[in-house]
Symmetry: C2
Subunit: 211 residues, 2 copies
């Protein structure tokens, strides 16, 4: 993920964060955060650690909306963060929290670092749109097999390899693809038997030419 402070000197970065009245917060592992911060529109920036945006609906089905890593941004305006959503730290994590209105109202047109910051945010959010588009692409496929294959292709394209390092365990992958875990397991078995893929640990090798 692109650094939101790219092309901004450490000094200017500090100035910026000060002007925007940001707060720097650290949370321990496996903690639900943001329920306490969640007033108004905020943008969070992950400085260190790993977190997940998780939705749990009324019947208890958990869905991972997004995984957040270093330099990732999140917030009420970027991810859906109503009371139905949680942010869970997977490791100890440090974040900056910035009021989005501060960003909107700032008028430092003679400061090029502010300009740069806006450009960086724009670029990051465009990347997030791309992620969403990919997910939609997968979810609109009508069969489990096609969802899996679409997912494989997207992941494979990302780094140009035919080997995919699953960033999830299988339970979470099923959540991400919005399919039943056991049904997914069954379909993966068929894909293996038919020689389309190979699975070792959490690495999937694509054996077919192209999809």
């Amino acid at each position: 993920m692109l650094n939101p402070f790219q092309n901004i000197s450490p000094k200017n970065r500090e100035k910026l964060l000060y002007t925007l009245e940001s707060s720097r917060l650290t949370f321990p592992k496996n903690e639900l955060i943001l329920s306490n911060i969640n007033q108004g529109n905020i943008i969070g920036i992950v400085i260190k650690g790993m977190m997940q945006i998780i939705k749990t609906d009324y019947n208890g089905t958990r869905t991972i909306i997004e995984e957040l890593e270093e330099n990732d941004i999140f917030g009420t305006i970027i991810s859906p963060l109503s009371n139905e959503y949680d942010i869970l730290t997977k490791e100890e994590s440090t974040v900056y929290i910035i009021d989005y209105d501060e960003i909107k109202n700032l008028d430092l047109e003679n400061k090029s670092y502010y300009n740069q910051f806006l450009k960086n945010l724009l670029e990051i959010i465009i990347l997030k749109i791309e992620e969403r588009n990919n997910r939609i692409e997968i979810l609109t496929k009508k069969t489990i097999r096609n969802k899996l294959l679409e997912y494989f292709n997207i992941e494979s394209k990302k780094n140009g390899l035919r080997v995919i390092n699953l960033p999830f365990n299988f339970t979470d992958l099923a959540d991400y693809l919005a399919i039943d875990r056991s049904a997914m397991s069954r379909e993966l078995k068929y894909l293996k038997e038919e020689g389309f893929i190979e699975i070792k640990n959490h690495k999937i090798t694509l054996l077919y030419d192209k999809y």
Copy 2:
């Protein structure tokens, strides 16, 4: 949709568009556009008209990715615009096309309208993320009924009414929800019979209290 030139005077807007080397193009109704522009990363701004981003996959299934109206922005970096995607004008439409690299490389930090333009783009794209999040929310529902109900709730929340004016015809709605049209038709019939909804023309009235 928010105006990308909000808080920018017409004069500065012209300067900006000139500096960014934008082109103004007009297309007739029912035309596939952007196949000819599609080199490099561009941002398009809809000045007038209506368009749809449409995907047709190998077996011919059409999916409406997005509807574009006045002030909407689109482009290779915002919508997936590989060769699998088309933009179709539903009316005669006029657009500006801007090279995204021009935006990234511009360094007019002493011009507040450039700053304002970046803020506007940021805000618009954040709205687009919200749309994507909504769609994902719907698509992760496992049954047709739940997809429909989720869609109804989201649309109903948008304007606080229990009456939804479908922006689609039913065929397109089924595409949007990624379900079979006839199966959707069947489910809508059940929902009517069970007294959950009423349908007149292309207006759906929600008769249940809350979901």
